[in-house]
Amino acid sequence: MSGPYSYSLTTFAPSGKLIQLEHALKAVQAGATALAVRAKSGVVLATEKKLPALAIPASYQKISVITDHIGVVYAGMGPDSRVLVKRGRKIAQQYKRTYGEDIPVKMLVRELASVMQEFTQSGGVRPFGVALLVAGVDADGEPALYQVDPSGSYWAWKASAIGKGMLNAQAFLEKRFKANDELEDAINMAILTLQETFEGAMTEDNIEIGIVSDVDQKFRVLTPAEIKDYLDEIA
């Protein structure tokens, strides 16, 4: 690429920071809260799904399936997350074609993080305005939860929150998290944590929950009916 946009938008400031990344993080922080909790036998992803009154909830999904055994939720710009989900799906299938095995969560996260990093060091592009929470269960049964930032940094978490209510949610999780919780407890914990930062009444149509358990290693998004059951239990 040549011309006025051939230089990278992410250039270092004298302070050593990449200003574009700081802005990208702001975009993430403006997004609806998303959180995740890792249990002994699986992982839960949960997020608010605040939509205008006339929008159809089923048409808008924040939680996506990347492979049978890996799911992802984002905070920030939805369209940016779609690009990453699409890339992640292809990466996972290419891995399967080459090795005949399902991609380990760690490897997929590494590749996604690498993609996000590319966009901080290329000409004419901007960083992704999303942080991702990637959850999955590997073939050996180990549940895994990772967070990936616009910069391409990634960490493994026992529990994490991103987006608008992340500070409150993280504080709540730090106090309440128990390492050997069963998946069911983790789901309840996730819902309670969402409630901490939720404005208004939580219903099965304005939150989304995805789970993956080591029993079948299949990631799936819960139906509104299932969410309603959990909400009724907690109420």
Partner: protein, 228 residues
């Protein structure tokens, strides 16, 4: 060098410009060689001859065709020697990177799948080698498989063979193999199968090497054979 008429029967080749004492071979028989792998009780064996030949002439007798690609996984390759070497090198490259990235060993099944991919990539200009994979997976289960030069996998529960004397090898293995062989028996049987087969093949032999892989490690033995 390789004659352009390789693979053509003698009665259809030109009688002009023929050098004395030269015979036409197919590209897969140019160097010769034999590899066999067998499943035993909680172990696998993989063995090859050691001849390095150029058509009728032998130019080396330390050319082992079995390579230890992972801790408990071996790959044996026969066919054109340059492709044997190249494929072994490519596999080492890929498995080393895999080990570094994934922080774990590649299981034999995955290795075989990868090998199949590597071969199929060259579908219309293939590597002239037909490999055999033998190893133990993470749980200590034996795994063997063979492949043709474009990556078609053949899984087997008993034995797999490849090289220029596969007819001999199949006959010997079919007769001598039985399930649940203990290590020492397996060693005897795989050695007999290999030796009897290569002895009737002009382009295989000149020594042999046998690896027995079990949960504790690998035992390698070199066989003294007819040097012809």
């Amino acid at each position: 060098g390789i004659n352009a008429e390789y693979g053509t029967p003698p009665h259809l080749t030109s009688t002009l410009n023929k050098q004395p004492n030269r015979f036409i071979m197919s590209i897969m028989e140019y160097n010769g060689g034999a590899v066999v792998a067998m499943v035993g009780k909680g172990c696998v064996a993989i063995a090859s001859d050691k001849r390095y030949g150029v058509q009728a002439q032998t130019v080396g007798f330390d050319f082992e065709k079995v390579f230890r690609i992972q801790e408990r996984t071996f790959v044996g390759l026969t066919g054109l020697a340059t492709d044997v070497q190249t494929m072994a090198s490519k596999l080492e490259f890929r498995t080393k990177l895999y080990e570094l990235r994934e922080e774990r060993q590649m299981t034999p099944k995955v290795l075989a799948h990868l090998l199949s991919q590597l071969l199929y990539e060259k579908r219309f200009g293939p590597y002239f080698t037909e490999p055999v994979v033998a190893g133990l997976d993470g749980k200590g289960e034996p795994y063997i498989c063979a492949m043709d030069l474009i990556g078609a996998q053949e899984l087997a529960k008993d034995f797999v063979v490849t090289g220029t004397c596969t007819e001999n090898l199949f006959g010997m293995c079919e007769s001598l193999w039985r399930p649940d062989l203990e290590e020492d028996e397996l060693f005897e049987i795989v050695s007999q199968c290999l030796l009897a087969s290569v002895d009737r093949d002009a382009t295989s032999g000149w020594g042999a090497v046998v690896h027995i892989i079990n949960a504790d490690g690998v035992r390698t033995r070199h066989l003294k054979t007819r040097q012809d």
